[in-house]
Symmetry: D2
Subunit: 319 residues, 4 copies
């Protein structure tokens, strides 16, 4: 028992993602009018957006680009010391890039790549969101007014990358950042087909799944959370009323047990809304491994997985 | 069995109500921005408003007035012949007023008063709502787009009048209009304290409850329906975020078992949102009578009824 | 206007169905333990079952049989006079069979067949359910205690027949029984592929859809209603925990907008749980007609319809 | 920045509570038949009970006693080393009692008292629940089958103690255990009236509120979590059907924003069901302080707090 390995807990949570879109105006309208997000700043070709329940200034930087896909992903550390420790570990891994002076909403950050080539950064100093008059909430323990406009997403939930190989990326996140694997898929030939990584009690914040097209650096989807199964139904109705293409759901994932709804935003990126699932209270959680046969059973309610779900990612690969 | 009395079923449903407000701009903002209703016309000092699920052009005429309260209530008949039959019966009752040429959205109507002095009309010819381009629904069996703005009420649900005496009003509705009583409250001294009247399978559309101030012609509340218990929670959150005063709920009525949420619109009228309850399939439904003792137990979950609920109505009576 | 055709409204509602099962014990366990229904009588090879919200004694007669499928369907009329009128009309149609002395829970009934060969009966005299001590409800306007066991279905909702031809069956129901069509599917070649019939404000109680196997007298499914979208999720979880095969859903139908969940009971019959949809308030409702192209778009949220949905019925046809 | 104080995170979560009841049979029936919990062991005068979503063997030890109230509360540490560190800190505080050999489901524990006299223990070694055949779940990432019986609570959520003084108890939990305060009430005279303490991302697991009767060691309530607002409605219906007295709710707390429902179990203890609220992602969360005036506004939707809520606790104090 003395040899029990105390866990590293230096990453606090997923902070924000930069999403790339070739249709910035239509994408912005989707996130603001359909998802009900609020603008929290603009700079260059980027607009910063937030959900009503988020304590930081924003959770998404929407940036104009030739192709849809993911720009960078930012993780907040638990302390300045934790930032230094993770910096040292990443530097040692050889995947480090260097320090930045920060961006709107947060201080200096350390940039790096995961083995698959997705850009990332870690930071500690963060601006706490101060709502302007028209977005001031009724309850002081809530960062922003719930406006009742559109879907009304609470905040960024997680990001799911596509990767040429899942295992080295998952291993890097475990070794260099101290994340842990709550669930994974291991195929009969030993290939890891999916890895769900967590930092705190939320059971996943970063996910790697296999890219069937064998490309690198692509995005499968980003996810925003809502509060209920009813919110997912309401969102599906709002999507249909506004010609937003639903890819799948509302339904329930077998892995993680999250309730989900997938659509494509006008720029082409897959966007998930999620709620439910479970929290990890056990400090000694044992990774749940799904076999190929178990995976083939489909989602929780035996819903077959949509074919495009296994191949589509951004940037789009023309076959 | 040959002597079984076949029911009159000449009234199809509650069509619309005219609500009076001394603060027309604030009231209009409440119904449009908070409840998410759409404008369907303007005339004189009135704005016509509708919910997304309603087949007629509007369900509420909001009219500027010195005092809040109820203008008139309109019921649609099942056929032109039914309109003539009900006209004849009302005329005979002595409460009739006369025919009108109709209004925006409906043809000629016959006006009358209930014994307590609430203005009413019956009509048959009605305009079916044609949604303009920006409100066109995705599904052709739905009259209007669900916009995702604010509470998003579906349609008018029922109206609850205050009356000096409940029984004669309820009896008039049964005799002259052919409505039936699904539930009622009868106090120990024999006084009828509440009567819930229905026309079709919906278990109530008109309600009379006792006016504790002994006035006549007052309004207790009008009600719009939403689709779920979750919608009531969402509405309560939207109310609080927008300084709309909640009087009671979300909770569940013992009588009718409807889930409810009460607030006051800026003009002072009590507005209920409701969902749930039951439908009356039995053609030989027997009125459910609640005694004084049963009534004293509070709402379905033993929630004590709010004191203002027993006294407040519009126009407001200063004690 | 004088020539306006006043509607016949002689049928009050769908009363009960007789479901046939080759596995009576397993089917009974499904309806009692999984759906949470209560026994309300036994006779011969049949068990009578009920949902908590139903005013009549039972809504399903479960009968042992060599094959799964539908026994008979019973409709309650609005009055004894209405029963006589419908008897006369059916007799005239040539589809009549004759009077019965009644069954547990209801008085004399008139038996007939629809053109496709499904057995039916109409009756008026009905026993109102009297709950035994252990099933007595807390609220007097509710026929039975909600026990909290399993899914907890409220009552029978509708029945969907398969038919070799849809149109003559739908027309018979309109002419002889006075039902009306709320929605229908008409293919490009003019074939009617589906007809949804209603009696009161509930937008459908009997449905005919085309039998792709060209057989007669088969059942597509029977449906019980629950109260919410959350209840459907809970039911899906309960199904999966108990190895009940889900065929589709929870999702939303485009036609009728009902939220649904399909499974197969152990005897092989398809069972739907449903909630939501809309009520028909308009006395002059115009049938909504879906074209082949509109139908091909899938369910409300663009969910593709499950292939088995178009072919499977009971009795099962081996191809 | 170098001087940033890195947080202690040695407590993983609330493990279980021992609840005392003078009516062991009735209490047991409540927890099993109404809340839907499962037995996970018996010893002496105690029965061990669990919710379907819990990874440890049980979350409540129900013990026969002359009086209702709380026996002991157990917290699991993050590691064996964390257990040693907390043992050392508690020992130093003077509130330590000593080591036990453990109990059903967990290894050795260190017992202590909080300043108000509530018994507590910390432990690390814990048995992971292995479901017997009839409780085996369909999905391997779930510890136990969801049986669909009664309310169906997922797991223990938090405990709320009454204390003669709030502040010294809250301070002890911060200093000796490393818990942090997410929200608190500070009255105008400086008295702390409530303190909500958290260990991980769950925003509270231990709560102290002021005992209006000036007693020590009493319990205000224990709370189990369910998954949705709909589950709370369903629970309220189940309570009423089974003569369980509801004290308040379903409604929404202003503090913590949790959706709640309070009742009394047959032994007299107050039991809360909860869902919703928020998660604490910020490592530098700043305690939210509610003033006396803010507190007086009632719950989130302005629901007035029930008077008994301020005075009733167990053991009951006769005034």
């Amino acid at each position: 028992m003395d040899s029990y390995h105390e866990p590293i807990r230096d990453i606090a949570h997923l902070g924000h993602v930069e999403l790339l879109t070739p249709k910035p105006d239509e994408s912005l309208r989707f996130f603001k009018d359909i998802l009900g997000m609020e603008e929290a700043g603009r700079a260059g070709q980027s607009v910063y957006l937030r959900g009503w329940g988020q304590y930081e200034r924003y959770c998404m930087k929407l940036t104009e680009s030739k192709q849809p896909g993911i720009g960078h992903t930012a993780l907040r550390t638990y302390s300045p010391q934790a930032l230094e420790r993770r910096y040292a570990a990443i530097e040692k891994s050889g995947y480090g890039i260097g320090w930045t002076d920060g961006d709107i909403g947060h201080g200096k950050s350390y940039r790096f790549m995961d083995p698959d080539g997705h850009q990332m950064e870690i930071y500690f100093e963060a601006e706490k969101y101060q709502a302007p008059e028209h977005l001031r909430p009724a309850l002081k323990n809530q960062p922003q007014k719930y406006t009742g406009k559109g879907v009304g997403v609470r905040q960024l939930d997680h990001i799911n990358y596509l990767a040429q190989k899942v295992e080295p990326n998952s291993q890097f996140m475990q070794d260099a950042l101290g994340l842990r694997v709550s669930e994974q898929i291991v195929l009969d030939n030993g290939t890891h087909a999916g890895s769900w990584l967590y930092a705190g009690q939320k059971s996943y914040e970063l996910v790697y799944t296999l890219d069937a097209t064998n490309r690198r650096g692509r995005l499968h989807h980003i996810t925003f959370c809502v509060d209920s199964w009813d919110d997912l139904m309401r969102a599906a109705n709002i999507y249909v009323e506004n010609d937003i293409v639903i890819e799948g759901g509302p339904a329930k994932h077998a892995i993680q047990q999250t309730l989900f709804l997938y659509c494509f935003e006008p720029g082409g990126n897959r966007i998930e809304l999620a709620t439910g699932g479970y929290f990890i209270f056990a400090p000694d959680w044992e990774t749940v491994t799904w076999t190929q046969a178990e995976r083939a059973k489909g989602q929780a309610w035996r819903t077959p997985t949509i074919p495009s779900f296994h191949t589509y990612g951004t940037p789009v690969v023309e076959e």
